[in-house]
Structure formats: structure tokens, C-alpha cells
């Protein structure tokens, strides 16, 4: 099926660029937009433009925000002595959803990936070390850096590198435990994950 309008086809093309959206879904979305009142479509278009015009990156933690510093960095209720280091802004959202973390963040903008030619200079690593080494006068001294990078070869490389750089400072460096996902079955867990889980076992 093809729409007989070039404008609608152009919209289908745009939707089809989104992650997880195939051509079929893109056509359904375009058909939906076609039926919406113009005011609602305008609202949607404004929201799209606004993310590009208003969203900046926090100059302290490099998370996406409308205000600098971001609400997390600005909050007095957060623990400013604990910094959780993540690869992407989406990872901040994932940790915030747990409601189990009250510290602040540092977004690297990716992970060191030798096979892709991505090195430390392409990431916000210098800025992290600066936060740990010379905190601004108003900021408390960082006591713990939690490396919440992915459990991949890239994440491992990034974690080793950062922990090396932080070694000279009096800061505790920890990494998220790697192990068996809750709700899964030991019998079907691969050996590497199970080995990690054994190493990271906890006392009861």
C-alpha cells in the first residue's frame, strides 16, 4: 500500500527512521496523524522542535537537561559525595527509575571502544577526573565513584581505565555487580555470567 500523497509518504519516511519502527508501523502512524485535529499535530511538532532548541547538556554531569545545572546536580536532597558514572543519558533514567539511588551522576557519552576507534578523548573522562581531583569550592569532596558502565568488553575497558586514573585520589571506586538476572533460571544461565555471579556473591 502506498499513500497517493507525496507529503504523507514523506512523513512515512520520517517515522520509518525511528528505532523499532518498520514501514508498516510508519504507515499506521502517518494515517493516525492524518486524522488528528491540526492543533494537536502542532503540539506534537512543537514538542519535537523544543527538544532540539531547549535541551542542553549539564555542564557538571553532562546529562540532558533544560536548565544548567540539571535538577539532579542542583538538588540539595541528593548525596553529592557519591557519583554514578554511566555511558548514556538513558542509563541515568534507568537508575532513576529504581528510586534506590540518591547520589549524583556523570554521563560519559559512550564507552571506550578500541574496535570502533573510540578512545578516552572522545568521552567525558577528563571531566570526571577533574570532578574527583579538584572539586569546586562549593562542592563536597567525592567519596565514591560507582562505575555503572555496561558489562561488555567496552564497559570493562572503560572501567579499568577510569579506575587507573582515579587510583591516586582518595576516592572509593566501585562497579555494579554482574550476575544472574532476577526471574531467570540458573540452569539456563551462561557460564561467564554464572562465574561473575559466583565472584560477586554476598553474605547472608
Amino acid at each position: 500500500m502506498q499513500f497517493s500523497s507525496e507529503s504523507v509518504e514523506a512523513l512515512v519516511d520520517q517515522f520509518a527512521r525511528l528505532p523499532g519502527i518498520g514501514r508498516k508501523t510508519a504507515r499506521r502512524l502517518a494515517a493516525f496523524i492524518l486524522k488528528l485535529p491540526k492543533a494537536e499535530v502542532a503540539q506534537m511538532a512543537d514538542a519535537l522542535i523544543a527538544v532540539k532548541e531547549k535541551v542542553i547538556s549539564c555542564t557538571t554531569c553532562f546529562n540532558v537537561t533544560d536548565h544548567d545545572p540539571c535538577p539532579i546536580c542542583a538538588s540539595e536532597r541528593r548525596d553529592h559525595e557519591t557519583v554514578c558514572v554511566v555511558e548514556e543519558p538513558g542509563d541515568v533514567m534507568a537508575i532513576e527509575r529504581t528510586q534506590g539511588y540518591s547520589g549524583i551522576y556523570h554521563v560519559l557519552g559512550g564507552a571506550i571502544s578500541p574496535l570502533d576507534g573510540i578512545g578516552p578523548e572522545d568521552l567525558r573522562i577528563k571531566e570526571l577526573i577533574a570532578r574527583a581531583a579538584n572539586p569546586a569550592e562549593s562542592d563536597p569532596i567525592i567519596g565514591e565513584v560507582i562505575l555503572a558502565v555496561n558489562p561488555s568488553v567496552e564497559g570493562d575497558t572503560t572501567a579499568y581505565y577510569i579506575s587507573q586514573l582515579l587510583a591516586p585520589f582518595e576516592v572509593k571506586v566501585t562497579r555494579l555487580a554482574r550476575g544472574i538476572p532476577i526471574g531467570s533460571d540458573l540452569e539456563f544461565t551462561d557460564e561467564a555470567t554464572l562465574t561473575r555471579a559466583l565472584l560477586a556473591r554476598v553474605s547472608m
Partner: protein
Amino acid sequence: MNVGYPHNTMAKSNILHSDAIVLRSIDYSETSRIVTLYTREGGKMGVIARGARASKSRFGSTLEPMAHISAIIHCKPGRDLQTLSEASHVNTHDELRSSLLRMETGIRVIELVSSLMQSDQRNEQVFSLIAATLTALDKAPGRTSNLWPFFQLRLATLLGFGPAFDGDLVKGLTGEAAILDLRSGHITISAEPDGVSHQASRSVLRAFAVLARADLSDVVRMEMDAQTSSGVGAAVAAYLKYHVEESYPSRSARVFAQLSTPES
């Protein structure tokens, strides 16, 4: 699990059971990954692992670069991407990922294989060399720095351009320096006519000769001072670059060079 396949489907699919080394793994869509494997039975192959990005995926951590796995692959002739239906660890290579130095060697090994091997060209000896090198990298207590030059020279030999020096001549070398001819791999006192010379110390070229021919178990025990080791690295890189030219990868080396500066 979807292992059997109906006989009367239009495109016939073969099922390949093979050991494989993971060379590369790239996220594809929200749920899948595209993985490049070097398989024992079919050489270099691209496969799609559907559902591999889910946290409770049946592939678990098997699709990480450098993993040695046992794979079941559904192959349709003429397709660029085959389908990976199952993967389990043969060797988890846990220690390999415990230090930057070991990771560097491991990553450079798979990067070189990705770059030099053509798709679908089966070479069991190449597979065994990769698997043995990664295992040694994982298990060897200290000396892993010899493994990278060793791997490159052995791969060159398996691909038909190994250095053709005379072992006795190398043992009998006198004087401080000698010459490695990059074209032939001969090691001599004086430059060959119309050869391409790489000059190095006698100890560097002796080590070069040992790494090109000795057993892996001896290679990991071989002692080398830092100066000889870096000389061997340079000679091996020059030799490989002469033969494979632009295909000699430099990306990961550049990144690892950035990683090693801060301590000094």
C-alpha cells in the same frame, strides 16, 4: 528451539554446528545483534542473533568479542547474514578480560582476523591458532606480551606469506645488527639485492625467528627485555604491513596507545 526446518520450504537452509570465536558484535534494532564469527567449519561469517539484547536473552554473555563459543547457525546460501539460533560458551576467557594489557592483545588478534580473513573461507588451522592464542592469553600467568607478535607471524605463515628464513643461519649470526628482508622474510647479515631491508639488532631478529617457529608453550615462557620486545614488535609490524598493506588494522592500536599514557 527452532532447530529442525521443513524440507519443502523454497530456500533450503542448512544447519551448521560449529565452534566459533566472536570477532564483533553490533546492536541491531531494539532486540537483536549482528555478530561476526570466525567459525571452525565455515570461516568468517556474519550472523543475526534475534533477541540477543534482552536482559534474559538465551544468548547470555556468549556474544562478547573474543568469546569462544559453540554455535548453531541456520545458513541459506547466497545470504549475507545467517541466523544464529543457539550459542554456548566453550571457553569463557574470564582472565582475559581482567587487565587492559590482555584485552589489548585479545582485541588486536580479533581485529587482525576480521581484517585479513575473507568471508566463508574455511581454514581450520587459522581457527585453532586464534583459539589457542586466546586461551594462552587467558591462562598464561605473566608473559603475554609475546603472544601478539607470535600470532601475527603464525597467521602470516598459515596465509602463505610466512617469513622464509634459514633457522641455522639465524643461530649463526654474528655482529650486533642484521637485516630482515620484508619481502622474503630472510634474515641475513647484508641486504639482499632488490630486497626491502628492515635493520634490527641480532637479539631482536633471533627472537623474531623463535616466535615465528616455536611452540606456543615455549613462546609464553620466553624471556625478553623491554628493548628486545619493542624491537620485535616493530619488526613484526613492518613485515605484516609490507605484505598486507592497507589491510593491517591500526584503529585499536591507536586507542590503546591513549590508554597506556596516564601511568607514566
